[in-house]
Symmetry: C2
Subunit: 419 residues, 2 copies
């Protein structure tokens, strides 16, 4: 078996060619890959069955089995997503800044690919194709390290994609699976500084923290979400009920779901009965303070006393931490203390309160009178998303094709030298 | 003495207030700091003398003593630079992208401060004031760790700046010196993840590599420059002589000076005699191949055989590695193998050759018919520079105020929820 270093070196060599491709060449490759994935549906399904059988044999939950499953319809959908990516503008070559200096030098800050993008991700095998497609479109080689539970599926998907690349004259090594599916292969990838330009981990908090703390390759931290909704004293309370419900309960297993509710004390007694009636209908458990306890009892909602673990929790379940605050300043203070920096929402009709909140909190996204669930590349109109960055450097919030590029200053003169 | 963690925590608290300041407040603070530095010239000079005496006592070279010296005129110049920074536009609040989604949500990607910026730098004490000023203007707290040889000077500069901040009602902790000047304080700074948002090292390659390899805080790698000049077969040879000379010899101790010359074989015999006559006048030593040897002998230029260490070297001296290449492709291959990714130059009149070169090399800046020495924030018209990034994430090339910010998506609605 090849070493991770050998595969990364070949990806780096491929990246040298990828950065020179025209948009037409890349789009054509994406369309051919889509066609071949559809043509090889049966082969991919067969390989996927091996993973599903192995997963069932070790007692994997049905929810995880579902995430792991690639049937014909899902393969079609994954392939169609590549055709959508082909239709997006090419980020490479975009001039970010361009001007002429007094000495006649023309400065053009121009988008170029990052080079080799390493993806480390869990369960869903659709990420294998999504990530490869976004990397290809942005001129990057993709080095993929999926879940060991999806290994056979990923091998099949990458094999089909690599054959399609060769068909259109692009090096197969532009898309590569990290050899092996042990922890060692992740460690080797984290050491491949100089060969891999960035690592993007997608998955649970422990996966991401391991990579952030140990990688020598630069990392983009993604997707850990302890999101807050603050209901202000000047909130439209009907709107607030809808926003809290949607943020918490519309889909609980995602990073942009709300995990903490903060309510201004002036509206707690009118707002909480309305909200908790809905919580009861959806079996939400409130981890709250004494005020929450009173209203939970009145409404028949499950209640647990709140502690610091709750304020820090990403439940990814029908649980919510909740507290009453005396002011928007106190809400901001709570958020600055506990937030993971993903998304916070405020429900308020007061412009100065909104201005203070949006300026004072320090997160990737702030929703004003809207659900936290909108922090998403597709919702933001990016057309595609490689992940949601919760770090401050390079990219913050949903990352699309642009965030898979860096820039070069191209400076054109006619013999200028420094005085 | 306070711990690094305590000082960093106070800087983080100050940063919460800094992000809310208006441009007027920040500019006023910069002007007051400038005035106080000028008023305290004698105090600062006295403290600087302590450092100079200590440096002389351990036999520090006169060149380093000069870098360390802060006389009255230099303090005036440093203070005036702050007034120039006050005149620059405020990067905070700039809307990078703004649009309205079909559902009515207004998306605004807006620049906000990074938070706490840690600077680790060598000798020159002017960096203490420059960095503090750029951080303040961009709404960031500055945590400064200068050279131990400039410790008394830096303590004095920071004390004067902090008093000026208090005068205008800004927390003194917005500008802080890392306590102590041992290696331990650098190590503590590298561990301050969650308190410090970014570390920017400025100095020699070993300082930067230590921080890149060991920091848990995200790092922006700066300034290591193994820059190349390629003289194409279609070059204007007079222009090429001027560009090579300026790139190599105008100032040898800087990161944007050229360290390697690559000459197309078709023009070597006409170009090298002209260039080497100039090299002889400036006592340049050529580390070169056999063709270079011949011409060096004819011109009476110092010659040494070239090896891999030379191709990798940043000489920062009147030395240059030099070789003949058969094609622009071979020049690009050499650059991709050896470059540190700072700046490369091509001298050519052939548009397709230029297009190939600018697209194929993978560096922060590419100069076309211009000196490598132009890669510089001031030359690019940024008004100020915190360093030159040689990494690909976040910022690449000269970094000004914009690069000291991140962004937040502020999304405004009237009750929108996900379907």
């Amino acid at each position: 078996m090849d070493t991770v270093e050998e595969v990364a070196q070949r990806a780096k060599n491929a990246a040298r060619e990828l950065r020179m491709l025209t948009r037409n060449q890349k789009d054509e490759a994406l369309r051919v890959i889509a066609a071949r994935l559809k043509a090889e549906k049966d082969f991919i399904s067969t390989q996927n069955h091996l993973d599903l059988e192995a997963a069932r044999a070790v007692g994997t939950s049905e929810a995880l089995i579902d995430r792991l499953t690639l049937n014909g319809a899902r393969i079609e959908a994954i392939a169609d997503a590549l055709i959508d990516v082909a239709a997006l503008p090419d980020p490479v070559g975009e001039v970010v800044r361009g001007y002429t200096l007094p000495n006649g030098l023309q400065v053009r800050q121009t988008r170029v690919p990052l080079g080799v993008v390493g993806m480390i991700y869990e369960a869903r095998p659709n990420v294998t194709v999504d990530a490869a497609g976004l990397c290809l479109k942005s001129g990057n080689a993709a080095l993929l390290r999926g879940s060991s539970s999806a290994y056979n599926t990923n091998v099949a998907l990458v094999e089909v994609m690599r054959k399609a690349l060769v068909e259109v004259g692009i090096p197969a090594d532009a898309i590569a699976l990290v050899p092996g599916h042990t922890h060692e292969s992740v460690n080797d990838l984290m050491k491949a500084r100089g060969l891999v330009d960035v690592l993007i981990p997608r998955g649970g908090a422990s996966l991401i923290q391991n990579i952030v703390n140990n990688s020598l390759v630069p990392v983009i931290e993604t997707g850990v979400g302890n999101c807050h909704v603050y209901v202000d004293k000047d909130a439209d309370l009907n709107m607030a009920v809808n926003i809290v419900l949607n943020s918490k309960t519309q889909r609980v297993s995602v990073c942009n779901a709300a995990e903490t509710l903060l309510v201004h004390e002036a509206v707690a007694d009118t707002f909480l009965p309305e909200l908790f009636a809905q919580f009861k209908a959806r079996s939400v458990t409130v981890h709250g303070d004494e005020k929450m306890h009173q209203h939970a009892q009145l409404a028949g909602v499950n209640w647990e006393p709140v502690n610091d673990e709750d304020w820090a929790a990403e439940y990814y379940s029908m649980d919510i931490a909740a507290g009453v605050v005396p002011s928007v300043e106190a809400a901001v203070e709570h958020i600055l203390t506990w937030s993971s920096g993903h998304t916070e929402a405020i429900v308020s009709s007061c412009a100065p309160t909104i201005a203070y909140f949006t300026s004072a909190v320090d997160s990737a996204a702030v929703m004003v009178n809207a659900s936290t669930r909108f922090t998403d590349g597709a919702e933001f109109g990016f057309g595609a998303e490689i992940g949601i960055s919760t770090q401050k450097l390079h990219a913050r919030g949903p990352m699309g094709l642009t965030e898979l590029t860096t820039t070069t200053f191209i400076v054109s003169g006619n013999g200028q030298v420094r005085k």
